[in-house]
């Protein structure tokens, strides 16, 4: 009998994990970077790392099903003659017609309207479906200016000057040829079928001083009626917020790196920008330092999933949140009912992110006439409204438990953090301690 040394268990590298190896092989085979949709997928400090304290001897709660807990919010009261009044502090983020199908855009409008909130156009202009089915529609003013015109500016309820987005701060839009249908091409004044790469910078202004003059122009064109938002990616939230306020914004939108995109490079999504949680307190601090907190409203987006996330964002000083990815899931994105088709595309329900390819089995991120029939805008809009209602009820449940008769009365003192990272980012104590990392020299 020969003696064999005991073998070691095969060990894979934590650095060169399966995904990394597959990406190296894919890059070597194709010679092109990986493009995908959605936001950062890596594990990041997030709202899950925060907990509410609830009521105790020093704080008494409100009755869950009886006492009122206000959810409304007014956006744009700083300069606009006609601010936006929302019933809930959850809005639908900008997503373009082009990246999304017509029925999907209509469903977003229907769901938002049923819920008393706003929806937002995207990098492709305003469609009739969207305007017609959205009681309150925010019109994005983007570097590409696709479809931009004064008539749509005037029939919008607010204007959002987009400087950047969380998935790709510093990157422009991307819509590949397979999604440039006749209608999309016409709206964007581009030839059908070409790969469309939108500009990353505005064509006629650079820097905060120019932005102030640009905002003045938009106000003059719309007779000072519309709230003007400025949206930035989560890059330098303190300074970007301060500069947006200085430039005259009514509302600042800060989008963290979990915020989705229709398409960009995977390396961009995962390596540029800051997590949503890390963006909130600096943005709030900028408003407080300028004496503009609650006067200029702050909207935060990127990874908002449920009422707890909403309540936590509001407790940290945000006026409203915005959802994109979650809204698409409510419409039917990545639904396991299409699993066989996801498998045929080499993926699985829950992981499908090749939105740029236009072959979405759920019919949402496509311009394929057959696939988009799978979205019933009325039923999908109803699902979105249900989801928004649940999120609102969840946030109210938490607020009442913290003794608050308005979601906007939640405060940082209602929160603790489960990790040192989250405590430092959110500026709340580590659970079980009174330690806020970074405060008072510690």
């Amino acid at each position: 009998m020969t003696y064999r040394n005991p073998p070691t268990t095969p060990r894979k590298s934590a650095t060169f994990d399966d995904y990394t190896l597959s990406e190296i092989r894919r890059a070597a085979a194709t010679g092109i970077y990986d493009i995908r949709g959605a936001g950062a997928k890596r594990k990041l400090p997030h709202f899950d790392d925060l907990l509410f304290l609830g009521a105790s001897i020093s704080r008494y709660p409100l009755e869950g099903y009886r006492e009122r807990c206000d959810t409304s919010v007014v956006l744009g009261s700083r300069h606009a003659k006609k601010p936006i009044e929302l019933k809930i502090p959850i809005t639908i983020a900008g997503m373009s017609f082009g990246s999304l199908s017509g029925p999907a855009k209509e469903a977003l409008g229907r769901g938002a309207t049923l819920s008393g909130t706003s929806t937002t156009t995207g990098d492709g202009g305003m469609t009739e479906e969207e305007r017609g089915h959205s009681k309150q529609l925010v019109y994005q003013y983007l570097p590409s200016r696709y479809g931009m015109n004064p008539r749509d500016l005037r029939r919008a309820d607010a204007i959002e000057v987009v400087v950047g987005q969380g998935a790709k701060p510093g990157g422009g839009g991307m819509l590949l040829g397979q999604k440039i249908s006749d209608r999309v091409a016409e709206m964007r004044t581009l030839p059908k079928g070409i790969d469309q790469r939108s500009a990353s910078r505005h064509p006629d202004w650079t820097g905060p001083d120019d932005l102030e003059i640009k905002i003045l122009e938009l106000r003059e064109i719309t007779d000072w009626e519309k709230p003007i938002y400025v949206k930035v990616g989560g890059a330098r939230p303190y300074y970007d917020t301060a500069l947006a306020v200085k430039a005259g914004a009514d509302v600042v939108v800060v989008d963290g790196m979990q915020g989705g995109t229709a398409a960009t490079q995977e390396v961009f999504i995962e390596n540029v920008g800051q997590p949503t949680l890390a963006c909130i307190r600096p943005a709030v601090q900028a408003l407080q330092d300028l004496g503009m907190h609650r006067k200029v409203q702050l909207i935060v987006s990127g990874g908002i999933r449920n009422g707890a996330d909403v309540a936590k964002a509001l407790a940290l000083g945000v006026d409203a949140v915005s959802i994109g990815t979650a809204a698409l899931v409510a419409l039917g994105d990545n639904d396991p009912r299409w699993e066989a088709e996801y498998n045929a595309l080499g993926t699985t329900a829950g992981a499908y992110d090749d939105w740029h390819e236009g072959r979405d089995p759920a019919g949402i991120t496509t311009q394929d006439p057959e696939l988009m029939k799978r979205v019933d805008p009325i039923a999908a809009g109803r699902r979105l409204a249900n989801y928004l209602k649940v999120m609102t009820l969840e946030a109210q449940t938490i607020a009442r438990a913290c003794g608050k008769n308005s979601l906007h009365n939640l405060e940082p003192e209602d929160l603790v953090a489960l990790s040192i990272e989250a405590a430092a980012m959110a500026g709340v104590p580590l659970a079980g301690t009174n330690w806020i990392p970074g405060r008072n020299g510690f």
Partner: protein
């Protein structure tokens, strides 16, 4: 009759509504212009003392003539949709940005981004235009009597840019389907922009633009045409050096 072709006597007779920006606010001017309807008798306007103000006569959507007596700041005549606007002076950045229709004439020079993202109408600059003239243009016609600066017609999608003088560096970088006609020297062409043959239909098109812009003594045949090589329309890794 467009204000650009009116004599002083004709203008005096037209009973132009005079708006003096040293006496009244910019907001009052723009709101008065926006209140105009298609049946309005106030079809001729004169703006005095602009003194470099930004956003003069923006978002006008009626077929009126507006004479601005002096130089203007940023975004003069922005999003113009139908008006005939003449600036009797020079214009700051972004003049006529996103114009839909109508005409704009700048008697002096224009700063950066002239006619940016314009979708229609005619922008005439009788002096020189700075950098990024016609950036991202989407259907506008631009005629510059003098020279234009660098990065002009960057990502230009549609429309015509006519330059009687010279063009700066990187003309037409990443251009789509816009047509560029330059009579003088081009410092350099941007990515995917190439010189193209002037066929009879281009001569005819260009001559029409020169006539509309009131250019005399210049023949369309003196120009060269530039446009897209269309090599960057769909991503190809072998073209990555051009990006």
């Amino acid at each position: 009759m467009p204000a650009t072709t009116m004599s002083k006597a004709e203008r005096d007779q037209s009973h132009a509504r005079v708006f003096d920006l040293s006496q009244q606010s910019l907001r009052e001017l723009n709101q008065a212009l926006h209140k105009l309807t298609s049946g309005s008798n106030e079809t001729a306007w004169e703006v005095l003392n602009p003194k470099g103000s930004h956003s003069v006569a923006v978002g006008v959507d009626q077929l009126v003539s507006i004479d601005v007596r002096g130089s203007v700041g940023y975004y003069c005549a922005g999003m113009n949709d139908g008006a005939a606007i003449t600036v009797h002076g020079s214009a700051g950045p972004g003049v006529g940005e996103n114009m839909m229709s109508g005409s704009i004439v700048i008697k002096g020079d224009a700063s950066q981004y002239a006619g940016a993202t314009g979708r229609g109408g005619l922008l005439v600059i009788e002096g020189n235009a700075s950098s990024r003239c016609g950036i991202s243009m989407k259907g506008i016609d631009i005629v510059v009597h003098g020279n234009i600066g660098h990065m002009s017609a960057f990502m230009a999608q549609s429309g015509n840019l006519v330059v009687l003088g010279d063009a700066g560096d990187a003309l037409g970088d990443s251009i789509y389907e816009a047509r560029l006609f330059v009579r003088g020297k081009v410092e350099s062409l941007g990515a995917d922009c190439i010189a193209k043959e002037m066929r009879p239909e281009h001569i005819e098109l260009l001559q029409g633009l020169l006539d509309k812009a009131g250019v005399t003594g210049v023949k369309a045949s003196e120009f060269k045409r530039y446009g897209s090589a269309r090599k960057l329309y769909n991503f190809n890794i072998d073209n990555a050096d051009a990006y």
